[in-house]
Amino acid sequence: MSEWHDIAAEADVAPGAPAIARIEGREIGVMRDPRTNDLIAIRNRCPHSGAKLCLGSVEQRIEGEPGGHYHLVDRTVVVCPWHGWEFDASSGVCPEDENFRVAVYPVRVEHGRVFVQA
């Protein structure tokens, strides 16, 4: 049964400055989406080759059309610091290969503290 865990002070979680906690043997990080200011709780291990995922970045997904057309879409991804693989911030799925999925967790803020359900 997963429980809510007090991870960090909300003020301490900023874009590029995640909070990391170890919960029951798993390293879980809380990252700040610089676009929406939302918090993302995600396992700190890339399912591809094991990088510490929370050392990567939180970015707005780019889509495009052939012919050199690029546009930003309303979708946030966590980008691995090693090989640049992207993982959907809501589902944890790698859009390019759904066989690769990282665990993401519910997160909420109470009284200035960040809680993660894991």
């Binding site: 780019i62 495009g64 052939p66 640049g84 290969d97």
Partner: protein
């Protein structure tokens, strides 16, 4: 059996020059190399040709339609022989764009007037002045109504890989007219083309034959995939000829791996590029690499990227490194033979292979 690569030789240049307007003919006669086409920097140290074929008074095989029909269609048992150019593969690399366009027209007329009527099992490739896409499109549209033409032929050697938008009109015109696009390795480092390898010009023919002809095909394959060409032209079909296939699994895996991490640069790629390849691209089998007793490993590797459906038989007649059909068929897994030797080409080319010919 369908042979997707039968090279026609220009043994008598005047046969082609008769299709060029009189004021221009002398220019072609006066060129240092054949009809002004770029010459090969790397020449086979012995001969370009098999030694058991009939030759005419020029000492070359492959230049007489009746002889080619006998040797390829009758003796080798091809139901259809798709004629590709030989030296004229490099017409799109001539420095003189206008002469290239006129020579391409003449070569296509030569096929239509002197080759197709000899045997209704012949099909042909349209050569185009790819250095001038506007002229190339005009030539495709001029020829396309003759349904004995089944594809537009481009050379492995090129100014840029064919996914570049410069070439898009050529690919669009081919698809719009129900023609495939065949890219045949060769002509790297000739005329307008870049050197065969990223390491620079090779020294020996064997280097060119090993790396040059494979690298250009790799370059075009991944250029077409990366530009999203098949999203822009959903009906486009591409046959890659004589670049080898043993490297294919490794390069596709390498590219799919890169795509996962580098997608921001090409976000229009909405599936692994190897999956797009399976739907749109076919590979002519010759020269199927020798494996030193590891054929089973080769089949297993190729099956992982879509074989046997992605393979179409080619002989490369009349060249020295051709793959004889019985030898190739016997080497293939039994379950692959019908597809590779016949059915895959039928599915790829569609109704233009039908007999009798609808002109």
């Amino acid at each position: 059996m369908i042979d997707c690569d039968v090279h026609v030789q220009i043994t008598h240049p005047e046969e082609i020059l008769k299709f060029i307007d009189a004021p221009e003919r002398e220019w072609y006669r006066n060129q240092a190399y054949l009809l002004g086409l770029p010459g090969y920097p790397w020449s086979n140290p012995s001969t370009w040709f098999r030694g058991d074929l009939a030759v005419d008074e020029t000492g070359m095989p492959g230049g007489n339609p009746a002889t080619v029909a006998k040797e390829v269609l009758d003796n080798q048992g091809a139901d259809i022989g798709i004629l590709t150019a030989d030296d004229a593969l490099s017409v799109g690399l001539m420095q003189n764009t206008y002469r290239a366009a006129a020579l391409a027209r003449a070569h296509n007329d030569w096929f239509r007037e002197d080759w197709f009527p000899v045997d209704d099992r012949f099909r042909g490739s349209i050569v185009v002045p790819s250095q001038d896409p506007v002229a190339a499109v005009a030539e495709i549209e001029r020829c396309a109504s003759d349904r004995r033409f089944v594809q537009v032929l481009l050379a492995g050697g090129s100014e840029r890989p064919y996914g570049d938008p410069k070439y898009l009109p050529i690919l669009e015109a081919a698809a719009a007219n129900g023609l495939a696009v065949a890219i045949h390795s060769g002509m790297e480092g000739m005329g307008l083309a870049h050197q065969p390898t990223g390491a620079g010009a090779p020294t020996f023919y064997i280097e060119w034959h090993t790396t040059g002809s494979a690298c250009s095909i790799m370059g075009h394959l991944f250029s077409l995939l990366t530009h999203g060409t098949f999203r822009r032209i959903p009906d486009l079909k591409v046959l890659l000829i004589e670049g080898g296939v043993a490297w294919l699994p490794g390069m596709l895996w390498r590219n799919d791996t890169n795509w996962r991490g580098l997608r921001d640069d090409t976000p229009w790629l909405d599936e692994p590029p190897s999956e797009t390849m399976k739907r749109h691209i076919r590979f002519a089998t010759q020269p199927l690499e020798h494996t030193d007793g590891n054929d089973e490993l080769l089949w297993q590797m190729l099956a992982a990227v879509g074989a046997p459906d992605i393979l179409c038989y080619s002989s490369d007649y009349p060249h020295w490194d051709g793959d004889e059909p019985k030898w190739l068929a016997n080497r293939l897994p039994e379950a692959w033979r019908q597809g590779v030797m016949h059915d895959n080409a039928v599915n790829f080319y569609g109704s233009r292979l039908d007999l009798p010919v609808a002109r």
